[in-house]
Symmetry: D3
Subunit: 241 residues, 6 copies
Amino acid sequence: MTQQKQSLVVFSAHSGDFVWRAGGAIALSASRGDDVHVICLSFGERGESQGLWRREGMTLDEAKRIRRDEATQAAETLGADIDFLDLGDYPLRVDDAAFNRIVELLRLYRADTIITHVANDPYNRDHNLAHETLLQARMVAQAMGHLTDNPPIGAPQVLMFEPHQPEMCGFSVDLLLDITEVFDRKQAAMKCMGAQDHLVDYYTELAGRRGVQAVRNGGAKSITHAEAHARLFPVVGSELI
Amino acid sequence: MTQQKQSLVVFSAHSGDFVWRAGGAIALSASRGDDVHVICLSFGERGESQGLWRREGMTLDEAKRIRRDEATQAAETLGADIDFLDLGDYPLRVDDAAFNRIVELLRLYRADTIITHVANDPYNRDHNLAHETLLQARMVAQAMGHLTDNPPIGAPQVLMFEPHQPEMCGFSVDLLLDITEVFDRKQAAMKCMGAQDHLVDYYTELAGRRGVQAVRNGGAKSITHAEAHARLFPVVGSELI
Amino acid sequence: MTQQKQSLVVFSAHSGDFVWRAGGAIALSASRGDDVHVICLSFGERGESQGLWRREGMTLDEAKRIRRDEATQAAETLGADIDFLDLGDYPLRVDDAAFNRIVELLRLYRADTIITHVANDPYNRDHNLAHETLLQARMVAQAMGHLTDNPPIGAPQVLMFEPHQPEMCGFSVDLLLDITEVFDRKQAAMKCMGAQDHLVDYYTELAGRRGVQAVRNGGAKSITHAEAHARLFPVVGSELI
Amino acid sequence: MTQQKQSLVVFSAHSGDFVWRAGGAIALSASRGDDVHVICLSFGERGESQGLWRREGMTLDEAKRIRRDEATQAAETLGADIDFLDLGDYPLRVDDAAFNRIVELLRLYRADTIITHVANDPYNRDHNLAHETLLQARMVAQAMGHLTDNPPIGAPQVLMFEPHQPEMCGFSVDLLLDITEVFDRKQAAMKCMGAQDHLVDYYTELAGRRGVQAVRNGGAKSITHAEAHARLFPVVGSELI
Amino acid sequence: MTQQKQSLVVFSAHSGDFVWRAGGAIALSASRGDDVHVICLSFGERGESQGLWRREGMTLDEAKRIRRDEATQAAETLGADIDFLDLGDYPLRVDDAAFNRIVELLRLYRADTIITHVANDPYNRDHNLAHETLLQARMVAQAMGHLTDNPPIGAPQVLMFEPHQPEMCGFSVDLLLDITEVFDRKQAAMKCMGAQDHLVDYYTELAGRRGVQAVRNGGAKSITHAEAHARLFPVVGSELI
Amino acid sequence: MTQQKQSLVVFSAHSGDFVWRAGGAIALSASRGDDVHVICLSFGERGESQGLWRREGMTLDEAKRIRRDEATQAAETLGADIDFLDLGDYPLRVDDAAFNRIVELLRLYRADTIITHVANDPYNRDHNLAHETLLQARMVAQAMGHLTDNPPIGAPQVLMFEPHQPEMCGFSVDLLLDITEVFDRKQAAMKCMGAQDHLVDYYTELAGRRGVQAVRNGGAKSITHAEAHARLFPVVGSELI
């Protein structure tokens, strides 16, 4: 059976989010030959680089450079290409030019599936803005009368990866994605993120816990690691799942 | 690619529910060679047989007989076998013996997927009891220390079919099931339900409306009819859906 | 303009609930000539008669007698008739005979509107059971094949009166009922409830607070007292409200 | 009985929304002699004019002109006047000048009731912005210290019409509005909307389905067509509804 | 036992909100020697000064001056200092400069606890913006790479005080704060707010009602007045509460 | 400062639940000298003893005996006494006699705080019944007219411990309880539960993850292990938490 090559876009507020929360999904898609595109709205340079700001003499430019290098290496490890929009973090701001560029990227990459943040994270409002921006940009990218270099897109599914404290964000698990076969790749990518290395163990354990739940929910006994995702739109198909 | 034969159980409070609300899912599964088992807790003899009670001299036994015949014919049309538990309706009551029989049927049929009612339908509390009973029975059927003729089951997914007034039941659509290719079979089954024939047009139109939404949500342009279902547990798998 | 006489049923777990929480609605309906029937499932003899149990030598029978007298007098003051089902409280229990009697009363009174408790009060599970019982009985009373002395009913609206701690019960206000013109009658009825006289001031103040909100929500400036109710089913009509 | 003339404002993100979703409400109000004012924030020229963009040589100005003509004709058919604010669509943007104009229109029209979009439509964020803008403008229009040509308004009710996929928008039905007597007028208005003519059948069927539900919820047997609306604020009044 | 001095920040959209809704919390903290800082985003000059706008010749500047005086006096009465940001009301607007000033104040005051508005008040969108602004500013104030005169802060708890119509705002009560011992001070502060003096009785009665509920929820019988607050983040500690 | 000795009741559907989910809370309370009473409704003999049923020749009696021994030892390790009600599991059933015994235990132990299951766990309906039974029993135990050997109780707080899959149960975290100092005791107790030894690592990791979140939410840097709990009723007190 030949299946068509798919396109996946991961829409990430800061340059680390896609690694911790969707690294497995990315590696899995890439391992099948799908195109995976990461769009980083910011480098998380101010708010998610604690490791860097403890170093003497750190500057914003240097923090951004290091974070860009780390994220580039992580994306490569996972098998994805990556765009950095450099919109600033804490707070993230999206002006009209940035918005239009995002619309154009969505049209260019013609995603079948998009993964992004949840709608309401009380700890981190940059995440919320990323979610809202993605929904707006998806809508505009669909508009026949929005005339740009690339044609309108269809209706890609939107998944939301697991936030740091899911119970505080109204996160419900719709998909336990089996990432067992690519977990070593996710781990390698996580290790690229030197500025947040305190999170490697945390997300390794979380993957194990989600793996246990995957088995408990009917998955194969061989599953050891999983990632939790929620879904925004109905699945359309002819399978009862 | 050979896929393993699946088992589907449809757990229906009254003898019409499985036709109107899951007829497409049943026909689709059956058309692929899956086993489909319908379990009817009651005949809907008192509360869902308006057409019959307008006939002079109708009795409860006669209403049950007619409803049983109609449902048997509908199940056959759809390609499913059917069990009638005759537990009474309006109100439905499930005693210990009935409960144990349900557990045993779940073990016997070894469902990969179960379809039933939503948890909270303000119009029809029989539906709620069916939902609750299914969840309890699924749990007991899984228990290793519940020793019966059949071994414990795993963790089948539970879908909830669309209730008559979805917005009043907290129903959200997780799956728009493409039933285009089997819709003629669903229609034939609906026509078997003479005691509720006022519903045929209603559910035909609903299938068309759900079909439009399926296309709008990224489904193939060829979809003309769909059924909406919600999902209770996370999907476990290696596909990003 | 002549309007048809309406029928209102108030379905109350304990013999005080209808006074504190729906006394205004009852008095208002009665003052227009509507039929109002209060159904008390219990006397609240064990759990809502603190004033009585502080008296030396109090017995269950005596508590019930006093509560019956108080509630009878309150109902009369409000303009309603009243049934006592004496099903016990703390906990309330509804067996099949009681359930069937309730169904029959609903058929007998042919309510256009029913007022009862909310679905989920964490403080008082008798209230939840009253809510659930009402919904089940309403459904059975509608069933054409449930053959009793009285014919099936249509689809009466169900309102839920305001619980003691609305924010803990998921209560949202759908209706601010202007009870200004009958508030003296509600107050007189509240004063009949000697076993709970600590509540008179509380509910008088609450009516004032709801009155302020009624004005703030567009009501006439002349409103001084209101009662809050929630609604379970859609309103059907030709007015935009 | 003489009733005072009412004022209704329909606040519509795009120039088609008021027809498909509130056409019945408008026609019903107009048929009673009420004033009905439609405020269109945009023409839906980019995102809701698929029919137009399939024509060769279509331009934004031409699309807007056609949509304006269609909407003007539809409003007239329904019996309403209409304002076009031309704020752009996909995405809709509301700047300070536009906001102030909206406030002034609300003061000018002195609505008793306003109908607009739901708060959260995942498919269409223009709808969300329209909802939010209306709530902000309503609040400012009430402020005594916001001094403009027209005096402050009171507290009009806000209804939300049914979105295209209600279950995905948290839409619950509070009002099933009987539009049987004006449905021919709604149908005539829908036929004015040539750029979206694929929707006429869809909304005709939906009106039939809502009509069935209206009867099922206690409405007169003669109801054949209805529109579903939700309500944002409590009803204040002296009727038990 | 010596306890460390705490810092409390009350973040108020208009200059009256902190008095009516958090006056007890402020007085209680101040009475223990904690630092309490009120930040008023606006004076509520346009939308919450009805009393003033009924006076002949009132101007915006004069309204702001009077409201500033009243609020200053109220804060002093309660034992708090106060900042006025004068950002305008109905609608409130927060530009980048204002946002940065707020971040800096949060860093300067180093709050252990912050009290502000709920997330979603349908009546008053200024309240929502205050809530959102606070969450964004808290996040930015925590960012190590946001370099300003004051160092980053930790993770203060955020409480939400009770809105005017709690059931319409999704408000659930997490804390019934016993303000019995400082209620006279709250009352004195409320009396400073001449432009809204119609609210003094209302909030006095509300405090009594919340006091009754505090006792009913296990509080000391001596409690006569309480304030209701909701909590946004988990409590961290070693007490089972 | 002397604090009064408190009483804690942990209400557990099966004999393992109190260990995995509230072991830290129990050990912490016991270590301060509080009385802690565990009430086990069943032994989890049929559904939560997988390890046992894999042994040849296992019987229900033997499974119950082993589970009783394990739980007794775990309770002792944690510092609690324990009651076994032996009501059966999968499904748990609570008859009138059992219910009355539970009411009496609540009166006997005079809990200040009760910890139990969440209201709605789709995987395990025994948990739901335990929750509901506790709420009903708490209510009856408060009733002045329910005359038994022990006097009525006040209004104990009810906490809900973290279920196995919190996002599927609507669980939100209200309390991150610092169990660092007693975690070795919880671990020792977990090791007593031989029939479920696959869970020890799982709950050890979870405690670590909750510990990280406790620090992130403002807890002391020294916290390494925590337990998450939700709260059913408002906290009453004079602290702003």
